[in-house]
């Protein structure tokens, strides 16, 4: 054999001379095929019902075929126009627009185009509606003048610049919108201060998620410690109490917090009854950030406790004993010996809770009010109310990338296979 492996030794072969690796792969192929067949139904189901629709949805964040599809001749004619000349396009562009709009009005697609472009530049929707109503009454020839008569916007270079900018099939517009920027007439720039919303929402989502993660850690650590150190019969009971919320509907738990936290709710009633709070200024604990933090901390607590517990369970009590026998007080023994060994658990729990809370939707929606909502609520708004799916998709892609990035960091630091849920 002339073939050699990386370390210089000869390639191992089987009796008949085929390389060992080849025949091993052949031997394993059958088993691989068999296991593939076993998981095939689930794989196909997930692919068809989950992954493909999501990919399609995310694709909408850059897709912009509507301009080229609705105004094909105009887009073609515009490509010859020199936008930087500062002059209006010539007559044949207006003629092309006339031809395109006639068809579009027939198919009623010009209003859809108008609302699409209105996301980027307000006024576009009404421009297309208005023009659409008049276009079939236009006379042959001299379209430029007639269009400007219908709406003087057609006589502005900016309108055509804008149309040219959004004529390609793909656009960064949705993504720019999602980070409070716009691809306006003068190029990419941040939106005016008072129109910015998404960056702040992303920041608030991150900040609240961090607060929730922090409170989960504070509340979860002692419970995980108890779980890992109590005698088995008590710790089993405690474990059931920790897992109990998993068996209750998320909606029920969130609604329960509504009952507890509202101004006429149980907590306020108790505080008033105790005389700690006067009846006239009851504490506002719901429909704001406080409500979101309290309810989500409660809901995500098990995801902090379980990884912490699984790490703590592996720490032998003899470490603490050893530290104390060596002269450390209880606190020193905990802080210098026990706590450092729980850091993988803290990392696992914190990243898990953070990732879960950053994409949370239902709880902030129900108890968050206006200043306690997350980016996911805004995505839902664009999907179901404003119908700006492209923007929703762009926001979704950003959120998804953020989570994937966190997963990557987590995998580097802790290792995904270290996650043990109980």
């Amino acid at each position: 054999m002339t073939d050699t492996t990386a370390n210089g030794g000869p390639v191992l072969t089987t009796q008949d001379g085929t390389p060992l690796k080849v025949s091993l792969a052949r031997a394993l192929r059958r088993e691989k095929m068999r296991s593939l067949v076993l998981i095939a139904p689930l794989l196909i189901f997930i692919l068809v019902s989950f992954l493909l629709p999501i990919a399609d949805m995310l694709f909408r964040s850059v897709e912009n075929r509507i301009v080229a599809d609705t105004l094909p001749k105009t887009v073609a004619a515009l490509s010859a126009w020199n936008a930087s000349s500062g002059e209006l396009p010539d007559e044949n562009v207006y003629a092309a627009l006339h031809d395109d709009l006639l068809i579009a009005v027939d198919e009623k697609s010009h209003t859809r185009l108008g609302s699409r472009l209105n996301y980027e530049l307000s006024g576009m929707s009404s421009l297309f509606r208005k023009t659409g109503r008049r276009v079939d009454r236009m006379d042959e020839g001299n379209y430029k003048e007639q269009f400007i008569k219908v709406d003087k916007d057609w006589g502005k270079v900016e309108t055509w610049l804008f149309l040219k900018r959004y004529s390609p099939k793909y656009t960064p517009g949705y993504f720019l919108n999602a980070v409070d920027a716009e691809y306006g007439i003068e190029g990419i720039k941040m939106k005016p201060e008072d129109e910015r919303i998404y960056l702040y929402l992303f920041w608030r989502t991150m900040f609240l998620s961090m607060v929730i993660t922090g409170s989960c850690l504070l509340l979860g650590y002692p419970i995980a410690f108890l779980l890992a150190n109590l005698p088995l019969r008590y710790s089993n009971l405690l474990m059931i109490l920790v897992l109990l919320p998993f068996w209750t509907s998320l909606l029920v738990r969130t609604s329960a917090w509504k009952v507890l936290l509202q101004q006429q709710g149980v907590i306020n009633d108790t505080l008033v009854w105790l005389g700690l709070v006067s009846n006239t200024d009851r504490i506002v604990m719901i429909n704001n950030q406080t409500g979101t933090i309290i309810a989500m901390t409660h809901i995500l607590l098990p995801f902090m406790i379980l990884p912490l517990y699984s790490v703590m369970r592996t720490i032998s009590p003899s470490y603490m004993r050893a530290a104390r026998s060596l002269g450390a007080t209880d606190w020193t023994a905990f802080w210098r010996v026990y706590f450092p060994q729980t850091i993988p658990g803290i990392g696992a729990g914190a990243i898990l809770v953070f990732i879960l809370s950053i994409g949370y939707y239902i709880t902030p929606e129900l108890v968050g009010g206006t200043d306690g909502i997350f980016i996911s609520n805004r995505i839902a708004y664009h999907i179901s109310s404003s119908l700006n799916w492209g923007l929703a998709a762009a926001l979704g892609v950003i959120l998804l990338s953020l989570v994937l990035l966190l997963f990557y960091v987590y995998d580097k630091i802790v290792g995904i296979d270290n996650v043990k849920l109980g």
């Binding site: 032998s316 004993r321 050893a322 026998s325 060596l326 002269g327 210098r336």
Partner: protein, 362 residues
């Protein structure tokens, strides 16, 4: 011995975990300064509980433990100043070897220079001078063991407790570590309380051995006494190999007694733990004290060879003697071929002093 030479004293100590049964029953034990004392016994005999009470991790249900004459029941573990080596070493995995050793010095707020010097000396003592920067997980079992010993000694305690420290090592390494620990003890002069269930470990290392069973010290004596003069059947059974013969005392004559076995054989035995004529007794007999040329010995009986096992330095002969088919005789291998054959009837014999008449256990 004077009071000053006693470092630890257990006085009427009892321990119960559940309030129903006692794990340690009325323990009275004085440990000498500089002594290597081993608590030996099967699992569940209460030896580890005693050690934990001494270390301060368990509290005595009744009675008092004294350290240097001072009662310590209410002294927390970190103020007792007792070094301890744990079963699985309990080396802190997130610290290097040197950091592990420096830990007891840091909590005692020693200066950096002093810490470094002591850590260095302790590492050299266990011949691990070059390993200070490694993590415990990068060391072999034997090396971890040595680090654990060094860490328990680095702050120079007067007393070191060891809880089955060699249990996780293989046989060869265990024997080597036994000698190393023994030498460290001799060189430093610290008192060591060592817990094990391995009798050969106890015999090798200890000055005195306390044999525990059922929450009670069955016998407290040096290794040789323990083997040669067991005080009761449990100790005889637990320490070394032992042949049991059961019978009844027929005559008492000073330190000797006559015993009639259940099949009618009459033997002379050393009267250790029987009181009066008519008592049931268990005779205990070491396999290596039995001779195949019994001329002139007090006890001579006939036995049938059942099995021969060749073990190199000696040959084990399993025999049927007085109805006991598990009767074992060890014959030293002197080179000449011995004409023993399975099924053969032979005379064997032993001295009355080597046959201990002990309490009868069913």
């Amino acid at each position: 011995m004077s009071e000053k030479d006693i470092i630890v004293s257990f006085s009427e100590v009892q321990k119960s975990y559940d309030g129903v049964s006692l794990v340690v029953k009325n323990l009275n034990l004085d440990i000498q300064r500089g002594e290597f004392l081993t608590m030996l016994g099967p699992s569940g005999s209460g030896k580890t509980t005693c050690l934990m009470m001494l270390a301060g991790f368990e509290s005595a249900t009744h009675g008092e433990i004294y350290l240097n004459g001072r009662p310590i029941n209410n002294v927390p573990p970190h103020k007792r100043g007792i070094g301890m080596v744990f079963q699985n070493y309990a080396l802190f995995p997130h610290m290097t070897v040197a950091e592990n050793l420096a830990f007891p010095l840091q909590v005692r707020k020693m200066s950096k220079a002093e810490q470094e010097q002591k850590v260095k000396r302790a590492l050299e003592m266990v011949e691990l001078g070059a390993f200070g920067n490694r993590r415990p997980a990068q060391l072999s079992g034997g090396q971890q063991q040595r680090v654990a010993v060094a860490r328990a000694l680095v702050f120079e305690p007067e007393l070191v407790l060891m809880d089955e420290p060699l249990g996780a090592l293989d046989k060869q390494l265990r024997e080597q570590m036994q000698f190393e620990i023994k030498h460290i003890h001799e060189n430093l002069g610290v008192s060591v309380v060592y817990v094990t269930h391995d009798q050969s470990e106890a015999l090798t290392m200890s000055d005195r051995i306390a044999v525990f069973n059922d929450g009670i010290i069955q016998q407290l004596s040096g290794p040789d006494d323990l083997y040669e003069d067991p005080q009761n059947s449990f100790v005889a059974q637990f320490i070394g190999e032992n042949n049991k013969l059961e019978g009844k005392v027929t005559h008492v004559n000073g330190s000797l007694c006559d015993v009639e076995l259940d099949d009618g054989t009459r033997l002379k035995a050393d009267k250790v733990n029987v009181n009066a004529v008519g008592d049931r007794t268990t005779l205990s007999l070491r396999p290596e004290r039995i001779e195949f040329e019994p001329q002139g010995l007090e006890n001579i009986v006939k036995g049938k060879v059942e099995e021969l096992i060749y073990l190199g330095d000696h040959i084990r002969v399993r025999m049927d003697v007085a109805g006991n088919r598990e009767f074992v005789v060890k014959v030293r291998n002197r080179g000449q071929k011995r004409d023993l054959a399975v099924g053969q009837m032979v005379d064997i014999g032993w001295a009355a002093d080597d046959c201990k008449a002990l309490d009868f256990v069913q």
